[in-house]
């Protein structure tokens, strides 16, 4: 009586049916949206970078968080500038998880960002910048369009 059910269970167990994890965690694929050499090459190759660390206490990346990405065999830092997950009211949600590559001092590796940037990022970046630490507001200067 239970044979068909158990058989089905065994068969279906080999298939992952978990829902899509709409969060930036370790090993999430991101999309580089600036025109840095390494970023462009990685995206052209069809090997988008993976997040290998999120610099936050929870390990979940939200808008404006710093992440460490593995890109073309290198480790680079980046800032999340647009997320796919549901946002608060009036904060835009994007169709892809966007990241802009920066170096340790907060200077972006590219010279242009070719997707819109949420306005709220201006406030977040200014808040994260300390006088003696990295200056993240340089990222805002290379943005082409704010939403």
């Amino acid at each position: 009586m239970f044979v068909p059910g158990t058989l089905f269970n065994v068969v279906s167990r080999s298939v992952s049916t978990s829902t899509v994890c709409n969060q930036i965690i370790k090993l999430t694929r991101l999309r580089v949206v600036d025109n840095s050499e390494i970023g462009k090459a990685a995206m052209m190759e069809g090997k988008p970078p993976r997040c290998i660390h999120v610099y936050s206490k929870t390990g979940v990346g939200y808008i404006g968080d710093r992440v460490l990405v593995a890109i073309k065999g290198e480790k680079k830092k980046g800032i999340l500038v647009g997320l796919k997950q549901r946002q608060n009211a009036k904060v835009p949600r994007f169709d892809s998880n966007n990241v802009v590559l920066i170096d340790d001092s907060g200077t972006p590796l590219g010279t242009r960002i070719h997707v819109p940037i949420p306005h709220i990022l201006r406030t977040i970046m200014r808040k994260n910048t300390h006088s003696k630490g990295a200056d993240y507001t340089k990222l805002l200067a290379i943005a082409t369009k704010f939403v």
Partner: protein
């Protein structure tokens, strides 16, 4: 003794049950007949009543479509008469300050709102309304547009005090109640220019845009073949997914009276709610129409001067 009494009890019970069954049949018939006659009487009465109502409130019928957020959540767990009434008063107060236009899912809206993060503290977003949800002060809508080749969606609360202006640039409906499938459609179907102007209203009724949108190839964000979408060109999925969709389809749900009863506010209650807010809403509507007419006349004038 006990055994005997029990037996007797059973027998009488059976008899009673039989009698009940027998008694039911003529009764059901009688109720049917009664119902029919009642309906007939009601029809005569209701005609007179509806005439009166029509004179009193010419458009109370479509208020549930125009102002869906005035209807409370049908879930009885969330009902609270006093809170609903207070919320309605707050909504009317907000509407007397901000003119919220009539819009539907599929309409194109422009929202101007104060944004402390923006340069001039003012921000504007234009997009197609793909979702309208919530009731009361919590009602919200979702706008979608494509900016620089990237899909952007912004979620707004309808009664947000930060909103300065809502414009309905193109008033129309689509074939579906939610357009979330635009996320999985080619970008050109959700691209709208930010400098769009308000289109002149041509007809009295709301036009339905019966555009059929093709979807991108898999993977999708949701299993669209299960949703019975009308505004999508033929959905191509493999046989296994088709079978699953067919197995999960619930074509009988439209006949489920209890389900519709549970998911909607009864008409009497709707009338009660809307008669509460009718006078104020009507006043606001008249004001809105005057303003709209002024705006259109101004635009005509300016366009004429431009051509000259």
């Amino acid at each position: 003794m006990t055994m005997v009494s029990r037996l007797w009890c059973q027998k009488t019970w059976q008899n009673l049950a039989l009698a009940k069954v027998l008694g039911k049949e003529p009764k059901t018939f009688s109720t049917l007949v009664q119902l029919k006659t009642d309906e007939a009487i009601d029809d005569n009465d209701s005609q007179a009543q509806t005439n009166d109502e029509l004179i009193k409130s010419p458009s109370l019928g479509n208020y549930r479509l125009v102002y869906p957020e005035f209807l409370p959540d049908p879930n009885p767990l969330f009902r609270n008469g006093i809170r609903e009434k207070l919320e309605r008063m707050d909504m009317l107060n907000r509407r007397s300050v901000l003119s919220i236009p009539e819009f539907y899912v599929g309409s194109i809206l422009a929202v101007t709102y104060s944004d402390p993060h923006a340069v001039g503290k003012i921000n504007k977003f234009v997009g197609i309304c793909i979702l309208r949800e919530g009731c009361g002060l919590r009602s919200s809508f979702l706008l979608r547009n494509v900016v620089n080749g990237e899909g952007v969606e912004v979620h707004y609360d309808l009664y947000d005090p930060a909103i300065q202006k809502i414009d309905c640039l193109r008033l129309e409906k689509r074939l579906d109640d939610e357009l979330l499938y635009l996320r999985d459609a080619p970008l050109e179907y959700s691209t709208f220019p930010f400098d769009m102007e308000i289109e002149a209203k041509i007809s009295e009724s709301i036009p339905v845009n019966d555009i059929k949108i093709p979807l991108n190839p898999l993977p999708w964000s949701q299993r669209w073949e299960r949703y019975n979408l009308k505004g999508v060109k033929e959905i191509v999925v493999n046989e296994r997914r088709q079978k699953k969709a067919a197995a999960l389809a619930k074509p009988w749900e439209k006949y489920d009276l209890m389900k519709t009863y549970r998911e909607t506010i009864p008409e009497e209650e709707q009338n009660e709610i809307f008669s509460d807010v009718y006078t104020k809403l009507n006043e606001l509507e008249i004001q809105k129409n005057i303003l709209k007419r002024k705006y259109m006349l101004q635009r005509q004038k300016s366009s004429k001067t431009r051509t000259l």
